[in-house]
């Protein structure tokens, strides 16, 4: 894949296929540690241990049985080639978390790429999915949370092309008035 964002799209497809209703995507650039960490967490059906142990099977074995997929092996190869690794935490009924790390300045690391295009491709085709995206780097943070927006606005038809493209620009250029978080009990006590 030419971009890490395309691997993320692939991970999100796995989540959708696993019946997830909520997905969070966390991307962190850590210059001090020279690490780029991408985490995709879903509340889908999860994997049986025997499936989870097989997901990184090398190409030779996966190619013979077409039913075994390429998505995770490709991601593992991309991470390894850039001095990183992929971890999969998953169990039936408890969802799945895939964490991929890369050497931030490694020459063989693919660029992060167009995360906004990735996110709206998933959102437009799965308008019920709750997407929570956060991108952190030194001196900056971007986030986009469909649930936070819907708490302010009521339900939003994310599948409408104009709405999806609005979301793309909001992810790219930021949201003028970020939706407020729900005030939790602990926070209220402190005030």
């Amino acid at each position: 894949m030419k971009e890490i964002a395309l691997h993320v799209l692939d991970l999100l497809q796995n989540s959708v296929e696993a019946g997830a209703s909520r997905v969070s995507i966390d991307i962190t650039e850590d210059a001090a540690m020279d690490r780029l960490v991408v985490e995709v967490r879903d509340d889908g059906r999860g994997m049986q241990p025997c499936v989870r142990d097989r997901v990184f099977d090398p190409f030779v074995t996966t190619r013979r049985t077409r039913r075994v997929g390429l998505g995770l092996p490709l991601l593992a190869a991309a991470a390894r080639q850039a001095g990183g690794e992929v971890k999969v935490e998953s169990s039936p009924g408890r969802g799945t978390t895939v964490t991929a790390s890369f050497g931030l300045t490694h020459l063989d690391r693919a660029p992060l790429g167009d995360m906004a295009a990735t996110l709206i491709a998933v959102l437009a085709a799965n308008p019920q999915l709750k997407l929570n995206y956060r991108y952190r780097r030194d001196g900056g943070e971007t986030s986009f949370d469909t649930e936070a927006i819907e708490r302010r606005m009521g339900s939003v038809p994310w599948g409408e092309p104009r709405v999806a493209l609005w979301a793309r620009d909001a992810i790219r250029f930021g949201l003028a008035e970020p939706p407020e978080p729900i005030p939790g009990p602990a926070r209220d006590k402190g005030r």
Partner: protein, 121 residues
Amino acid sequence: MKSLEELERIRKRAQEAMRIREGEQPVKIVVAMGTCGIAAGAREVMTAVLEELAGRSLTGVTVTQTGCIGLCEQEPMLTVEKPGRPAVTYGQVSGDRARRIVAQHVVNDVVVGEWVVAARR
């Protein structure tokens, strides 16, 4: 910067359009999003479809996705399903081709024969 006011205006317009079309069967555009599709350019196809639909203010069209359908060498693939018509699957679709498929097939009802890989009832 984007604002929630703008989203609200877009949503209002979309809701009006939906009211007008109530009861009508939507046209469906399905983009294949397996690993093979994504590696071949499915995301650009999805973006192009959304931009073309938005640019033409087309309503009553639903964009959805599917996984790998086993014709990996034909990816990226896109299927147009119109109510009462055979579903038509296009192969080796690019962003530009996707725009033409929207203009010619979705809007003008003329199948783009040269890129069709399958049609089923």
